[in-house]
Amino acid sequence: MKRFIFVVPVIAFMVLIGFFGVGLTKDPKALPSQLIDRPLPRFALPGIEAVAGGGPGFASAVLKGEPALLNVFASWCAACPQEHPVLTRISGEGFAVYGIAWKDKPQDARDWIARLGNPYKAIAADEAGRTAIDLGVTGVPETFIIDKSGRVRFKQVGPISPEIWEAIIKPLMTRLRAEA
């Protein structure tokens, strides 16, 4: 019993170290979204192209009836080119991908799309960043998965890698498609 008393601080220390160790493996940038299972906040945004060849933008009401990905990107974002081929593949597989160009000059976003190709069904410009705040966006890229009823079901912080698409998002999309 007496011996045990002296072991207690050591055990407590080990527990603490274990606790901190687990904390180190977690990504502090990945905040839980407040929108999960809640309807997508309403917005109506202009397109990135007021000039020729441009889409007209879209409103939140478009994201209904069919499960869709809402991808927030920017031409100045470093990780977005890395994610871009995955988005191209996703839309190639027949899923609806919508894009919001966050805090981006329409011209820059347009050049970016012209260079890399357009995987989006429609692109909206959120130059002021207000819609992004309503969505709780903390950086780019971020992707929201919207179900048939227009509710947010999942949020991906950071680029969608081929692995994340295959293992998490694609099965989810398939499930959402099957939902009534």
Binding site: P32, R130, G139
Partner: protein, 157 residues
């Protein structure tokens, strides 16, 4: 004389102000109404910047922090209370943006834990020291010992 005091006071005041840490708030964000602006500053100090997470939005130069500062000011100019303005941001980003976490069932351990540990530790210490005191109490002296003590404590001239 009065004017001199006033000048001194003004000098001291401006010195105090220039010694304050520089905030990230830019002149174009500020509200014309100094009362509202002061409230906005106080609210901004309580809200965490979600980009550079250990800074408040009042301190942070991140573009998103600027956007949030503007949002807070808009809420105030629309006549919202401080709590409502904070709630507007919390609804979008969660409790994480509050630099001071709210007291609610999920955070009871956080708020009360230190006091519980202090109380528990204090009680354990008290019990332990009591036990030790009892054990340390010496048995009463025998007759012979008492006589010896008396002999030793007697002053010999």
């Amino acid at each position: 004389m009065k004017r001199l005091w006033l000048a001194l006071f003004a000098a001291l005041f401006s010195a105090l102000f220039s010694a304050m840490p520089a905030a990230a708030v830019l002149p174009d964000e500020m509200l014309a109404d100094p009362v509202l602006e002061a409230r906005a500053r106080e609210i901004s100090k309580e809200l965490r910047c979600v980009v550079c997470q250990n800074q408040s939005i009042d301190d942070s130069d991140a573009p998103l922090a600027r956007d949030l500062r503007i949002v807070v000011r808009e809420q105030l100019t629309q006549g919202r209370t401080d709590a409502e303005a904070i709630d507007y941001v919390v609804q979008r980003y969660g409790n994480f943006v509050l630099l001071k976490p709210p007291v609610e069932p999920a955070t009871w351990a956080l708020w009360l834990g230190p006091f519980a540990i202090l109380l528990g530790g204090g009680a354990a210490l008290l019990v332990w020291s009591r036990r030790r005191a009892i054990r340390a109490e010496a048995p009463p002296l025998s007759e012979a010992e008492r006589a010896e003590v008396a002999a030793l404590s007697q002053d010999s001239p």
